[in-house]
Chain length 150, copies 2
Amino acid sequence: MKLSKKTDYALRALLYLSLRHERGSVQIKEISAEEKLPTKFLESILLSLRKAGILHSKLGLNGGYSLARPPEQITLGEVIRVLDGTLAPMSCVSRVEYESCPEEIGCAVRSVMQDVRNAIARVLDETTLADLSKRVVLLRKSQVRGAGVS
Amino acid sequence: MKLSKKTDYALRALLYLSLRHERGSVQIKEISAEEKLPTKFLESILLSLRKAGILHSKLGLNGGYSLARPPEQITLGEVIRVLDGTLAPMSCVSRVEYESCPEEIGCAVRSVMQDVRNAIARVLDETTLADLSKRVVLLRKSQVRGAGVS
DNA sequence: ATTAAGTCTATAATATTGATAGACTTTGCT
DNA sequence: AGCAAAGTCTATCAATATTATAGACTTAAT
């Protein structure tokens, strides 16, 4: 049930952009340096996100990437679906990569996996980049205070 | 976030055994034939499950596999952890495959993935093979009636 | 002794993941 | 005009994980 590095990197890059949403274009090089991500790999990831309408890019000198929409309007679910393809544990309960199966209707395994898919989607489709940014602030506070729910 | 075929096959085999829990030993060949699973592959899967204490095996003539415990005491979470290794989307929020990370404490991505892990675990650690068997019955009923929640 | 079962070791084929190289295009700046 | 800095595109690669299969071995019932 693991998330790919691709998606992991994507989320980190998007969070970086999200926290600098006011600032305009940010270069790949800066993101990869700050977040310690492999530059060329990140390049292809950001390209996919742009093609999916999540990022906006500016070519040429002083170019770079920025969020195509405000952080409130980009969910983690959307991002993961672009890069990993589906949130679902099996394709018979997937929205984006649905594949039918003859046994489908009476399949008990499927029925549980449906629940799993929904549980995952409930978290990821309701968490936006804005929420992620807020968590950064909250986590920093509780880190300083040594507090937190653990 | 996909489940491996290995785990998928395992769940189907276990459900098969679960529905025949009274019956004593069942042979690999029967399971693979009825559930249409590759015999040799299933063999290695069942072996892993036995080593993990989920199945009991009987050697020699009239041997075969049976559940090592009543179906009420085997959760899907346990099964998946044996074969896929973890329910968690990243190792920094995994119980069985935990790997620490320097950024861990203040990491917002981790914090969301923690939520995801918990959502997944809530379903899979609370669903047993007995529950799965019950679903088979329920699904069959609603199938016949043409009813159901869709 | 025979035979039907699981066990063990090794390996092969394929797919996926993670990553890089390099040529190309676009744009701002002087 | 021309340089430099940015993203774009195509191609490919290495490493790893997944999905299997083969075959020799062990155990136990009859």
